[in-house]
Amino acid sequence: MIKLLQFWIAHRVELGVLLGQHVVLVTASTFAAVAIGVPLGIFSSRRPRLAAPLMAAANIVQTIPSLAMFGFLLPVPLVGGVGARAALVVLVLYGLLPIVRTTIAGLRGIDASIREAGVAMGMTPRELLRQVELPLALPSIVAGVRVAAVVGVGSATIAAAIGAGGLGEYIYRGLSMVDTTVILAGAIPAALLALAVDASLLWLERQLSARRRSRSGRVAAFATGTVVAVVLLTSGVAARRSSSAIIVGSKNFTEQLVLGELVAQIIERDAGMQVHRRLNLGGTLICDGALLSRDLDMYVEYTGTALTAIFHQPITTDGAAVFNTVRELYAKTGRTLLPPLGFNNTFAILVRGTDARALELRTIDDAARESAHWRAGFGYEFVERPDGFAGLSKAYNLRFPDPPRVMDLTLSYRALASGQVDLIAGDATAGLIKGLDLAPLEDNRHYFPPYDAAVVARAETLLRYPQARMAIEKLSGNVSADDMRALNYAADVEHHDIKDIVREFLERRIRRAAQTSR
């Protein structure tokens, strides 16, 4: 509890920003869902034949898990991609069902005799709608808006997976570091926000259905709500980064968060430019897509990953050849691969230290011996990638009795340590290897391609901001595997703040470079 409060106080500015982003996401999407959903509801309440398929479609949308929805829309132009824009599309879709449904229900719930009285008095359909139907359906509609908004607060936490910002950032960050404090730092404000949204819309609902209130009172309540919403939206929009900032991204495990922060900080201090961080994105292909769609300017990729997972080239093991091939392929698509940072984060097949010592396991071949009584656990990417499990098990004749358990990469370390699985595919530079007494096995058959870490950036960005390029190139060759392991260890095991770790590293590095140049 104390740690949580300390975290909030230490990160109060960032917390404020994330909270603001979250509020903007929810407000904007709810407004849009109302603007689309209410007319849709009105339209279909009059056409029962349309209402049924519409409700069915909205129901189907609702059942698609939001993370999957973000994934579907990723490659779609205009509405997809990463960032707040794509997140808004998904949030609006999720808000539509409750609003359409309660609009239709509210309209249908009006007593037939009231409608008949209106028609008999010579009201046109529009007069009937505005003076009788909508006012009577309003409490029901607002109840639907309330549901949409509260659901929106929850869905918006997932939007952080595609870099839309919001309180989900803390939750994902906490998940990658397996740090409960950080998870709660995001989850608790989100829950409180949901309660606040629910309470304030409930108040609005009561105001609008209170017949005791005069018409002007109702208008006042509505106007206040609209003004508040507009203020929030414009402040959120104004808080957007200026267009001359560099967007640095990263994937969603600790090493990537560290590297992303490293690139961001060196640009900030050495090129004096503003950097917008979109760290913790959901995977290689999301980052790659974001680079192409200009939602990112750069991130750190691994040559072997680019070779197989992005460009689908056959696996080779010559480090320099792989680098050159990948650099050319990137160049053809308008991206520049900068010289490697200096370490090879190859896949490390890991077993428990106790097992390695007891069974004298040194190479993956040794592990293949034992695989008949083991359970394997892998991250989602390793299972999917061509250079992942499929190729490995063929190369080493690994035969596990059950198919491997698939889980979040970071969690697989703990699963190994706690005995839930016996073999995982981790990263050679992971801090948790030392921290959890895990043993890496030698890739004696040289199955894995090299995974040299290097910054890949949009060519256009580097050309426009040569000072940024110069800053990043200072990192090339200056981050060794030991450096990376130490940084990861400090983050994952000692739980230091990533920003602090990176800042210290840079200061030591710069000081050392300054000393050697004298």
Partner: protein, 249 residues
């Protein structure tokens, strides 16, 4: 002879897939006349009313209002000239009594002052003190008060024709007697063409210049009350017999 205010000519109306509610039905109502229609529930009385203000259109035959076929009337204009008091009244629950009554004047674009004055006038006409009732809400009123407001609302823009569907049905006999008296008082003043539907023979006799008895979509009696009272038709006799008699010693 002046054209009848309302005329049904050979009107047939059936709801889809059902036997006709009205079958080659004909009827004439003169201007300024009160026609009281009696019949069992489901005999077609409400349908008849709805054919006058074009909430329904006849399958065959024609309904004429002020000499024009309802099919040729612009529906909105027709309904502004025909006041309609529903059986359920159907007051708008989200509007005050005053706003309810003022609906049609506002739709017609009357200036606020004129609307307000008219609302006060009408509430007084139906026996509700304007200062007290104009700002009340429908759910605060008794059944009788609600029905009076319904009548006031129907009269708002002074339509020449008034259709009333069981307007006093849910009331206790004393209130009903009061309202009957008020009805006469109002009708003496305004002389509207009225079709009033009721299931109560006694009420029909009390209110109508002419009484019509509807059975199975046809008029089996249609004349002045005293003539209908002497009818030999079995249903009419049964309706008459069903009238409560006060025991005399």
């Amino acid at each position: 002879m002046p054209a009848p205010a309302i005329e049904f000519r050979d009107v047939t109306y059936a709801r889809p897939g059902r036997p006709p509610v009205l079958d080659r039905f004909s009827l004439k109502v003169d201007a300024g006349e009160v026609l009281a229609l009696v019949g069992r529930s489901g005999a077609g009385k409400t349908t008849l009313l709805k054919l006058v203000n074009r909430l329904l259109l006849p399958d065959r035959g024609s309904v004429f209002v002020e000499g024009r076929d309802t099919r040729e009337w612009e529906p909105i204009r027709l309904r502004r000239r025909v006041g309609y008091v529903l059986q359920e009244v159907g007051l708008f629950p989200h509007m005050t009594v005053g706003d309810n009554v003022a609906v049609v004047p506002r739709l017609e674009g009357w200036p606020i002052e004129r609307s307000r004055a008219r609302v006060d006038e009408l509430l007084e006409l139906v026996g509700l003190a304007a200062t007290q009732f104009a700002t009340r809400w429908p759910d605060e009123l008794s059944g009788g008060q609600r029905q009076r407001v319904g009548v006031a609302r129907a009269l708002a823009v002074d339509p020449p024709v008034l259709l009333m569907d069981e307007p006093f049905g849910a009331l206790d006999p004393l209130t009903r007697a009061d309202l009957h008296a008020e009805f006469h008082r109002i009708q003496d003043r305004v002389r509207k063409t009225v079709i009033i539907v009721t299931h109560d023979m006694g009420e029909a006799f009390a209110l109508g210049n002419r009484v019509g008895v509807l059975e199975d979509g046809r008029l089996i009696a249609f004349d002045r009350p005293d003539v209908v009272a002497a009818s030999r038709e079995p249903l009419v006799r049964r309706l008459l017999d069903a009238l409560p008699t006060v025991p005399r010693s």
